[in-house]
Subunit: 408 residues, 2 copies
């Protein structure tokens, strides 16, 4: 929609500055003439932008490079650890906090078990303590912390940072950003955790042009997704997009905690797999599930059902197959409608080995429209347990850029 | 993604020109100072752009306006009929051709029944004849026809204009654009018909900022959809997005002509409704359907089933209810994942009165995640039988703008 936005000199100056900055991030060490060449900007423009970055302490000289005939050029590199983004992943089982530097490297992290949810205000106090603990560890001045990005499961209103509804935490209409903002001296943004994860997973190291459509699905205790168009998260009209876990896949199926019937999450999430294992044990059907849990149904979780399946247990295999089949159906809907370049499968369920991934792929291929998604790549998440927290940093960086609050 | 694209003076000049042009379209008659004010451009910039548009015959003076103190200003208006877009809607039942002027007014149209599909090459010859017939009627010079936009049902490869697969026409890998281009002296683009329709339906007259997300569903003989982000069609990685008709809603359901099982189109399209009517009559179940078709199953189409339902026939009502229920399920998936600002229901099935619309809405509300789509508007198409052909003109206009092939 670029063509309808007014373009003025200020805007152009910002874009040029960003391009130089990006070039420095990717190509350091590099000299001014090379930046000018790569960004297609004039040398005086590059010089003035570099001067500004020098002044802000974001670029440094590392001496002279090789001469290509004339005077040897001064080689520049980015100062990565001048500014930091803090990212928080509020997971149902674990809270993770990271600090990323300006070039998106994770330089510090901490985590602790979430435990049983307690009063929201107390929980927010605890989050603040964790953030301040990490900040202290960085030995960074207040003005070097660019902000805090929060990744929260549930329906989030982006403009206000309110949590409209988070079934995992039983939260309804919690003004999370306002509460955090009253306690922390940094800009705060709140984003849905699945979308933050999707943004992080959409980045491919070394890829020059980031123009792909990435659909990332988080398969864990619940099921959610995020759509990334180019470098930007798709949020939707009211900030509640990506709720693939609550599409109806079995109209006469089991109740879902969202209040509906037969949702994908109710038949194929980690919670659903565990429940199905418990149900089958409760019916007295003999299986490895009963053995592995020592006949204690409370010890049956999705991981245990996967273990039983990996031991060749037919019952457990059926549960897994059924979940994979439904996940493939859900994915095929997204693929038919969105025709994305990439589908990334993330979350705890994907840690149970490539067999589950292969089953999901087979179901997707069976159910998606033929000849749709011809150029689609499907892969598993590779960015580790801090991916959502790192995604929160990326959402924060993007938001601050749009709000013109970045120091560059 | 604007921030990563290089901005130079040429780009800015284009954007400024477009903004002035847009302002003239919306606000004519208007004077130069008012354009400068509305576009936030300097008066010299506006004057130079207006001079250029004068030269190209796209703007004319209509005399002096009211003075606001000084010299009365010259009032300008757009010359709407200097250039034309041709749009073609290749429907399974009817072929429609329109000519739109530069301000998107439909100024000529023609249509004829599609008839039984015959050899592709002959069909293309016929399309060319229809286009040339309409062009002749315009009495416009060749250079005044900016191009021809084709709206074709099926999977379309946007870059090449190839029809990958069109179940309605039984076409496989037909190089439609190449064939048309060899026969017509205008730029040709080919787009999926549902997406062309979506683009046209996304426009709301008088709306200043066109920044909404519109999901438009075409419910007819088949079922397809289009997603419009702001003023731009979302196409997808391989140009095959919007295939909501082929999402699986009944895993053990009937076969679909796409080759899969239980697709939305196989249980809720016009064709599916007719088939269900025929099946029930074939089973000898007494109903108004049998009466209305004079016991001739070949005369049962969706319209007839709707007529029977409107007469209170229980069997027909069940068929309609079931279709509406499934359409609501399909829509709820798109709403959960996309959280659009607007959903527009289009196509032949929507011509059967508001009852069907209400049933679909009820099913959507039942199946969508609660609190998702809180700001969503759902409405019926209002732009008439040429909406898809007009959409083809809009797709053409957008494409030519991106390709820098518009005279402005």
């Amino acid at each position: 929609m670029q063509r309808y936005r007014k373009m003025d000199k200020l805007q152009i100056a910002r874009i040029n500055k960003y391009n130089v900055f990006r070039c420095l991030i990717r190509q350091s060490p590099i000299n001014r003439a090379a930046i000018a060449k790569l960004t297609d900007l004039s040398i005086p423009t590059v010089m003035s932008i570099v001067d500004d970055l020098f002044e802000k302490g974001m670029v440094r000289s590392i001496g002279k490079g090789e001469s290509s005939g004339g005077k040897p050029p001064e080689m520049l590199e980015i100062v990565p650890d001048r500014f930091f983004y803090i990212g928080v992943d509020i997971g149902r089982t674990t809270i993770r906090v990271v600090a990323n530097n300006i070039i998106s490297e994770q330089i510090a992290c901490l985590q602790e078990p979430t435990g049983e949810p307690f009063p929201e205000k107390l929980f927010v106090e605890r989050l603040c303590k964790l953030v301040l603990q990490l900040v202290k560890h960085l030995h960074a001045k207040k003005e070097c912390i660019l902000g805090v990005g929060i990744a929260m499961p549930g329906l989030i209103e982006n403009e206000t940072g309110n949590v409209i509804f988070s079934p995992d935490f039983g939260w309804n209409h919690i003004p999370l950003r306002t509460w955090l903002q009253a306690r922390l001296p940094y800009p705060i943004i709140v984003e849905n955790a699945n979308r933050a994860l999707a943004l992080n997973e959409s980045y491919i190291p070394g890829e020059e042009d980031h123009t792909h459509t990435t659909f990332s699905v988080n398969l864990g205790y619940g099921i959610g997704a995020g759509l990334v168009l180019g470098e930007d998260l798709y949020t939707g009209a009211s900030g509640t997009s990506g709720e693939i876990g609550h599409i109806t896949v079995e109209p006469d199926g089991p109740a879902c905690k969202c209040g509906n019937i037969g949702c994908l999450e109710a038949v194929a999430s980690g919670a659903a797999i565990a429940r199905e294992g418990q149900r089958i044990m409760g019916e007295g059907v003999p299986s490895k599930i009963t053995e592995l849990c020592g006949a204690d149904p409370d010890r049956i979780d999705a991981k245990l059902v996967f273990r039983a399946a990996n031991l060749g247990d037919e019952i457990a295999l059926n549960i897994i197959d059924r979940a994979a089949e439904y996940i493939g159906i859900g994915l095929s809907m997204a693929v038919n409608v969105l025709d994305p370049d990439r589908v990334v499968l993330c979350g705890g369920l994907m840690k149970n080995g490539p067999l589950f991934f292969d089953k999901i792929k087979a179901s997707l291929q069976k159910h998606q429209m033929r000849q749709v998604g011809r150029r689609m790549m499907i892969s598993m998440e590779t960015k580790g347990e801090y991916s959502t927290a790192n995604g929160a940093c990326r959402v924060l960086a993007n938001t601050l850029w749009w709000q013109r609050k970045l120091p560059i």
